[in-house]
Every structure is written in C-alpha cells, then in structure tokens.
C-alpha cells in the first residue's frame, strides 16, 4: 500500500459557520493504481489532491504515506517527502514563464541538489522520451497548450516520484490534446507509475483503473449527473 487516509476532515470557519471541505474521508491507494476522482465543482477534488500532495494540511484524521504517519511529521520532513515522492500536474500547467522548456524541467532537480552532469542526462532522457528535444530552448509562451502540459508532465516525472497527482490536467486542452495526455498517463501507469487524477470528464475518468465520486467532501456511491 502506497498511502492511506483515515477519517480525514478539513474545514473552514466562515462567519461562525463551519463549512466542511473534506468530511469523514477514507482512502487507500496501492502502488501502480490509476485512480480517477470525479465530482462537480466545489466537491473537494482539488482539496483532496492538495492534501494527498502535502500542499495543504487537514484538520482531523490520519494520513500514512508508505506506512509513515504524515500527520505526525514536522514541516521539514513533510517538505522532503513532497519533494522526493510527489509529482504535480495542474490544469493551468503552471510552467515558469521566464524559464525555457529545458530549465522548467530541470528545476525540481536543482532543489534536490542533483549534480549538473546527472541533471543533464535526466532532462535529456525525458525530452527524448516525450519527443520535445527540438523545443527545449523555447519559452512556455511559444508552445501550444498541449505541448505546455507535456512539459508539465515531464517536469512532474523528472524527479521520479512515487505518485503523480493531476488536477484537471486536460481542463484547458482540446479533445485531441486531451486524448494524447490521457494516453500518456495510461502508458506511464502501465510502466508502474501510481496516478491520481481529478476530472470532470467521464471519458478521461474511464482511463483510470478505479473511479471514485466525491460530493460535498465525502465519497458517494451514486454519482450525481
């Protein structure tokens, strides 16, 4: 088992009322799974991904990553865990505009203090694999959305994470580009990568090996359509 959430609660207090973002949530994910989380806007998909990805905290409950109790970790350990084991992909790509494709992909390695020669090799490999060697010196603004997301995926993979978290990865893409990204995910998953994606689209969700439905911060068996 890769990770396990037990009885997770997350809330915000607004004008005396407590609004639950996540409520009594359990989740287990094994290595090699491809989980699709579905649900309407505001159902808590992004929040859940942020909690899994350690970008955001939670108010109650236990979280184990590879058997380690994340909820008891100090910030520093959590940051190390995130840096080494978690890869993120965003709907809006979130590439750094001032860096080239090559430099964007290289950045996580810089923060992991990987040596220059090794960095070169790793980035070169992934550029090769994604067929974007020719674009390595371009800036994000010079790429199409699909190409940008491809760079986003490459960047998430460069540090060889245990899990890939994708929040609406195709939300800004047309259908052809979407399909390409989903095919890529499928292939990565086949190679053993654990993936959790949040999506609106039934079609995208169907690429997953497991589909979960979220409503108002809790799991639901009957997806509302």
């Amino acid at each position: 088992m890769l990770l396990k959430l037990e009885n997770i609660y997350k809330w915000v207090n607004q004008g005396g009322n407590r609004t639950f973002l996540l409520k009594h949530l359990d989740l287990e994910i094994d290595e090699g799974e491809f989980v699709s989380v579905m649900g309407p806007s505001g159902s808590g998909k992004s929040t859940l991904l942020n909690v899994i990805g350690l970008l955001d905290g939670f108010d109650e409950g236990d979280y184990y990553f590879q058997g380690e109790a994340v909820h008891q970790m100090r910030d520093k350990e959590r940051a190390r865990l995130q840096k080494e084991h978690i890869g993120f992909i965003f709907q809006a790509y979130h590439l750094i505009d001032e860096l080239t494709v090559y430099e964007n992909i290289e950045t996580p390695l810089l923060y992991q203090k990987v040596k220059s020669s090794e960095r070169k090799a790793l980035v070169g490999d992934i550029l090769d694999r994604f067929n974007i060697v020719g674009k390595k010196d371009l800036f994000p603004s010079q790429l199409s959305g699909g190409q940008q997301q491809l760079v986003g995926v490459a960047r998430a993979l460069i540090s060889r994470p245990k899990i890939l978290l994708a929040d609406e990865p195709t939300g800004n893409l047309n259908s052809r580009q979407s399909r390409e990204i989903m095919e890529l995910f499928k292939e990565l998953n086949r190679e053993g990568m654990t993936i959790v994606q949040a999506t609106h689209s039934e079609f995208n969700a169907s690429y997953g090996t497991r589909i979960l439905h979220l409503l108002d911060g809790s799991w639901t068996d009957t997806p509302e359509l």
């Binding site: 990805g53 750094i96 540090s159």
Partner: protein, 804 residues
C-alpha cells in the same frame, strides 16, 4: 543554482521593463545623490589626513586667563615652539606657521600674497612635495623663497622660477628674496594654505627681540610632531611644569595652559577660534550627510514598495517552485539574489551618474572634489551595495517566500502581497521626507535671500573696492590722487579711502580695561571724511566728519549705536571715548551691519587718524592686512561695464602698477557660502526626493489599479462615472499624504528653528510655507494618481471583466 537564479532574475527584470526601469533608476538616482553628498562630507571630514604623519601631528593652542576673562587662541607666542622642543621629550619636532599678507613686487607689478613664514622643519612635518629647485633644504637661509606651483606660474609663467628674484615688504623694509624651490599647491583639504613660503629667520625683520621672546604676544600657529612612541596625554601632562619654568613668577597658577589639538581635528572643530584658515561648522556636514542618507532611504523605500507591490506577479512562480520542492530558505535566497542584481545595476548606474554629475556638482558647491580610486572607496561601494540589497530586498523576499502554494495556484491569492500597513507606512515615510525637504529648502532659500536683501544700514549696491596694495604712508597719497581722478567722471557718485572696506571684516579689534577692571573690546576702522556719505550711512545724532574742520583730524571719533549702548553713554556727543582713548565723540551712526549677519552689530569706532587710537589700545587684532582701500560708489548701470573707467583712472595715477578690484556685493555674498551650498544641496535633494517618491507612487498606483481592475469594471458597469472612480483611488493616497504632512511639518519646523539659531538676523517661519510644502506634494501626487486612474476608469469595463 546561482546561475539559474541570476538567469530568472534577469529575465523577469527584462519582462517588466518599465517596472524595472522605475526600480533601478529610482535607486540609481538615490545612490548617485548619496555618493556625491558623501563625497563632499568625506572631504570635510578628511581634512589634513593626507599628511603621512597626520596621526602624530598636533597644533598647540592656549588658554590664558586674564582678570575675569579667558582668552583661547590657536595663535601662539613665537617662543612656544622652541620651548616645546627643548622641554618636552615627547616632542620630536615643531614647526611655526605664521600667516602674512605682505605686498610682493616683481618689476613694476605689486600684489598682496598669502605668505607663510615657517620653520625649515615644515617639509619634514608636512607632506607638501617640493617639485623643483633645492629639494634638500628649500628654506636654508633668510633670503630663500619657496613658491607654490600656481604662484610660480603667475609670476614667471612657463619660464623657470627657481633662481629668480622677488621683492617683499616685510615690516618697514622691502627685502629681496631668491626663489629656491617650487612646491606643489596645497590640497584643498588642507588647513595650511600658501602661495609663498619664507623662513622663520626673517622674524627679526618683523618684530623686535622682546616681542619674539614674549609669552603674551601671540603671532603664529605652532605645529608639533610627537615621537612615534609618545601620546598627546603624556606630553600635555608636562605642559604646566614647562609654563611654570618659562614664566617664572609671572606664571598665574592654572592661568596659562597649553593644549594639543590633532591636526585632523582642526577643520571641523569650531569650538576653538579659527587659525590661519577658516574652519567649517561640523553641523553642515551632519546636515548634508543626513540629507544624503534620507535620499538613499527614500530610494530604498521606493524599491521595497515596488518589489512588494509587484510580488503578485511573482506569486504563481513562488507557488510552482514550492510545489517543485523549493524550501523557503531557497526562495529567500533567490529573491535576495534578485535584489542584489538590481542593486548592482543601480549602484553601477548611480556611480556613472555621479561621475557624470561630478563637475556640475562641484560648480554648485564651489569645490573641487574627485572620486578617490582607492580600496576604501571600492569597499564603501560594496558595503553600500550589500546594505541596500538587504535593506531593499529582505522584506520583499520574506513576503514572497511566504505565499501558500495551494492558494496561489488556485488563483485565490490577490495580487496584493505584503501588509497594507507596511505599504502605507513606506508611502508615508517617503512623502514625509520629501515634504520636510521641500519646506526646509524653501526656508533656507528665504534666509539666503534675506541675507542678500536685508537693509544693512548702508547701500551695498554699485560699490567697487580697489585695494592699493601699499602701506599707509605711500598708499594714502596714491588713493587720494585716485579719488580726485575718479570724481571728475560723471558716472562716479562718491569715493572713500579707508583702511578696510566692507569686504574685509572683522576690522581692527581693540581692547582696553575699564574702571571696573573688566576687559572691553570694540571694532575700529580708519576712514576718511567721505566714508559716511559714500556708504550712505544714517546719522542718529551729531554729525559726520567734516573735511573743513581741522580738529576732526586728530581728536574726533564717530561711533555706532551699539557702542553707545555697550558703554552706557548718556548724551554721547562731545564725550571722550571710554578707556584712555583721547578722541571725543562728534557723531553717532545708526547701527549698520558691517559684519556678516551671523552676528549682531558690535560696538564700532571710526576716526580719521590712527595714532590717537593705536597708542592707547591694550590689544590689537587684525584679520586682514591694513592697507588703504578705495571704495567707489557708481551712480548705477552695469558695474562690470564701468570697471574700465576705474582701470583707466588707476593707470593715470599709478601707471606701473596692476589694477585690482572686487565688487562689494560679490564679496558680501561669499560670506554665506556655507549656507548657500547647503541651500543648493537641500534644494536639489528635495527635488530628487520628490522625483523618486512620485516615480514610486506612479508605479504603485499602476499596480493598485491592476489589482482593482475588476472592481473598477464592476463599478463602471453599475453606472459609476469615471470621476468618482478617480476620486475613489485618489482619496486613499491623499489621506496618506495628509498623514505624511503631519509628520513632516513639525520635523521641518524643528530643524529650521535650530538652524536659524546660528544667525543674529533671521526670517520668520511663516505658516504658509509649511502649507505650501504639504499642498505642493499633494498636488504632484494627485496629478500622478489622477492621470493614471482616469485612464483605467475611462477604458471599456467589458475588457476588464471578460478576462475572468
């Protein structure tokens, strides 16, 4: 990693070019302004430090108690130097430096020159390099003369000066000197200035043996070089014993003390009287140094404001980097690096700007400063760069690195960044500094204009002073011939021949002991019967001198009101002067400011003949060489144009002597040079502070508008007119500037009040100047805001709403 940081820093700077330009240029202007001002302050503070032995060089000064008064003087007896050398083991060498202003003759030309009579040790103690001639012993004999390089050029042009002869009037004799060497001109930052140097072997020509050995006759500055292992304290401890031995039974216990002053202390220590050279009020360097730092801080505040204000644009990058594993420390380092890059650019640009502006700056402050190419200066620039980096980069780095990635990436983070309190605080600080500087510069300007326009009690316009460069015996007949020649010209209103003109004050200081055994002093000038008329002085009582009344020549004195007040004279007309002075008062003049407006009018006596006064005075002090000077009052028109007339007339009475002249109003203006220099710098500094603050405000408003674009769009759609939008944005800032005024006004008032305390005659601190400063800043700010916000308000709201 560093390369990556620098790369991204450079690219993000280039991406927002306008914003970068404002940031860098604001800081650069601040840096260059600060550098130039500190350059001036540094030169003030490093006076006399160029001597390699400056840490061992001291000037002796004395504190003499006489009856109930203390006389502190840096001009000392001639005998002090040799006594110090003989009696104090800590003293390695001494050098007496006596300032003379004799008339120097070369062929038919005569000039008044700044001559120093010095001991031959002069060249051992001080670093004044001998360039040509007898470099080993330049002042070997009494007939040796050392010229400064510029004096050598003035007298002998490019021809070799060494070996040439010059005549010099010393005492009652005209002596021949032979140029033995040429020495480099004294640096500007030197308390010892000279055109010519002669040996102390000539002292005998100037005063009798008795005066030279007398401890109560002060004539010379005495410089002391201590041994390397000696301290000033150890040497000073032996002075009382030395004085007791020297004076014998004349020694009043604790009544005649000698002290040592480090040579580097001379220029800025105005608690001691000035010696051969004027000293500076250290207050002015403090004022200017603070102005320089204020400008720098305003520029730094600007930098912080812009960086923090702009941080919204970097928020997403910060979020992404955090997701990719950046820790806070790494982000802080990145943004500090960026600040460092910008600061380097700004400091380099500022340096370039300062280099470019050095010449105009020198003209402005009447100095000849240069950038030192030494490690100290390089170190200063480095420290400045680091300090500005920390000062300007640390806060933005903290703010930026604090962003929560989950929120930022979701777009929840408003582009605000930084606490509103800090942003407002910085705007307030910037404008408070600007407003205070504006107010101060207006007041300083008013005070300087007041110096130039105040009724001095005489008419200062249309006066030209022509010195005779001769002793009294020769000079008076020549001056009177000149007077007659001039009066035949219809352009000339009047002419007066006097020992001193208004350009050379103080005049002669005389002193006597009154019946209560108290020491009293007053000023004295030798004038002719036309003085009162020519200067257009007003008579309070009695009459002026009358050329027809022969008894006026020897026995009459004209005094001023201050004299009457000081000595409590009832019915002064007809009374004898107090003390043993025989002349009787024939007239009282209304007080007129013959000295600078720093001090009130002091008691004054005028007579037509010197003997009746000189013979009975106990003390004589002269700051300028006594020589007949002709003051010419023209009827009007261009003074410069009429100089030729004076020159022609001069040539007719003194065909073989050069004509010299000064315009009185220029000489008077020179008295307020320190004030004018400060005024100019504060004026320019306040303009720059306003410029930087407005630059910052402009950028800040642009960012505010970007942040509130959607809000403005909604308001417009709901029917708000553009003017109400402009008002909405402007009011926020107007309030801040109002607050800044409230801080600036008392500050400016306090500063100005303490500055004005230096002057006996001052302007009033009118309330409308404070108001003007505040309103001026407000107007400039509102204009800036108005233009920017009007542009946003008038744009189509659909454009701003559609992007959501």
């Amino acid at each position: 990693m560093i390369r990556n940081y620098l790369k991204i820093a450079w690219r993000s700077l280039m991406r927002y070019k306008g914003y970068t330009f404002v940031k860098v240029s604001g800081l650069a202007v601040g840096v260059s302004c600060c550098l130039l001002i500190l350059l001036f302050v540094r030169s003030e503070w490093s006076y006399d430090a160029f001597h390699t032995q400056s840490d061992r060089l001291y000037r002796a000064w004395q504190d003499e108690a006489f009856q109930d008064q203390r006389f502190i003087n840096v001009i000392t007896p001639l005998i002090l130097g040799p006594t110090l050398e003989a009696d104090i083991p800590e003293v390695e060498q001494t050098c007496r430096v006596m300032s003379l202003r004799p008339i120097v003759t070369l062929g038919a030309n005569r000039f008044t020159e700044a001559v120093l009579m010095v001991d031959p040790s002069f060249f051992d103690l001080f670093d004044f390099p001998v360039l040509r001639g007898n470099t080993a012993a330049p002042l070997a004999g009494p007939g040796s003369l050392v010229l400064s390089e510029s004096a050598a050029r003035k007298y002998f042009g490019d021809a070799g000066a060494v070996g040439q002869d010059l005549e010099m009037d010393l005492g009652d004799e005209q002596r021949r000197f032979t140029v033995s060497a040429v020495v480099a001109d004294a640096p500007q930052a030197s308390s010892i200035q000279y055109e010519m140097l002669i040996s102390y072997a000539n002292a005998g020509t100037l005063m009798p043996q008795q005066a030279r050995d007398n401890w109560f006759n002060v004539n010379t500055e005495t410089y002391v070089l201590l041994r390397e292992d000696a301290t000033a304290e150890a040497a000073s401890a032996k002075f009382p014993a030395m004085m007791r031995k020297a004076l014998g039974e004349d020694y009043p216990e604790g009544g005649f003390d000698i002290y040592l002053q480090p040579i580097t202390d001379i220029h800025l220590n105005n608690s001691l009287p000035a010696g051969n050279q004027p000293v500076s009020d250290p207050k002015y360097s403090y004022i200017l140094a603070s102005v320089g730092l204020i400008i720098l801080l305003v520029a730094c505040a600007n930098f912080v404001l812009l960086s923090v204000g702009h941080s919204g644009n970097r928020a997403r990058e910060v979020g992404v980097r955090k997701v990719l594993g950046a820790r806070r420390r790494e982000l802080i380092r990145q943004f500090l690096g960026e600040a460092f890059l910008v600061t380097c650019m700004a400091v380099l640009l500022g340096l370039g700007l300062a280099l470019l502006l050095l010449r105009p700056f020198n003209n402005l402050i009447v100095r000849d400063l240069d950038f030192p190419a030494d490690w100290g200066f390089a170190g200063f620039c480095l420290v400045l760069t680091l300090a500005v980096t920390l000062l300007s980069g640390f806060y933005p780095a903290l703010v930026l690195s604090r962003f929560n990635p989950a929120r930022v990436l979701k777009g929840l983070m408003a582009a605000a960044g930084g606490s509103a309190l800090l942003r407002k605080g910085l705007v307030v600080a910037q404008f408070a500094a600007s407003i205070a500087l504006i107010i101060c510069s207006v007041f300083i300007g008013q005070q300087i204009r007041y110096f130039q326009e105040k009724d001095l009690g005489y008419e200062r316009e249309h006066l030209i002073v022509v010195p005779t460069n001769m002793g009294r015996q020769e000079g008076i007949p020549l001056a009177e011939r000149y007077r007659t020649a001039l009066l035949s010209h219809p352009e000339v209103a009047n002419v007066s021949v006097d020992l001193y003109s208004f350009a050379e004050t103080p005049w002669i200081t005389m002193g006597f002991t009154d019946e209560q055994n108290a020491y009293q002093s007053f000023q004295y000038n030798l004038v002719d019967p036309y003085f009162v008329e020519t200067m257009k002085l007003r008579i309070k009582e009695g009459r002026s001198f009358d050329p027809q009344v022969t008894s006026d020549r020897a026995g009459a004195a004209v005094v001023n009101e201050a004299f009457v007040r000081q000595f409590g004279l009832q019915e002064p007309i007809g009374q004898k002067l107090p003390g043993r002075f025989p002349p009787r008062i024939i007239g009282v003049l209304e007080d007129f400011n013959y000295e600078s407006l720093h001090s009130p009018v002091t008691p004054l006596v005028l007579t037509l003949q010197p003997d009746s006064m000189m013979r009975y005075t106990e003390n004589v002090g002269m700051a300028f060489s006594p020589q007949p000077r002709v003051t010419v009052r023209l009827k009007g028109g261009s003074l410069v144009g009429q100089v030729d007339l004076l020159k022609t007339a001069w040539a007719s009475v003194a065909p073989d002597q050069d004509f010299e002249h000064t315009f009185l109003d220029e000489s008077l203006a020179a008295r307020y040079q320190a004030e004018r220099r400060t005024g100019t710098i504060v004026k320019v500094a306040s303009a720059l502070a306003v410029f930087i603050a407005v630059l910052g405000l402009f950028a800040l408003v642009t960012l505010t508008l970007a942040r509130r674009r959607k809000e403005i769009g909604i308001r417009r759609v709901l029917g708000a007119p553009a003017s109400s939008i402009v008002r909405l944005i402007s009011m926020d800032y107007a309030r801040l500037i109002g607050l800044a005024s409230l801080i600036a006004i008392p500050l400016a008032w306090w500063f100005m009040r303490s500055w004005l305390r230096d002057f006996a005659y001052t302007i009033e601190l009118h309330w409308w100047v404070f108001l003007l400063g505040a309103l001026g800043a407000l107007a400039i700010a509102l204009l800036t805001i108005g233009v920017q916000s009007a542009r946003t308000a008038l744009s189509n709201p659909v454009n701003s709403l559609r992007t959501e």
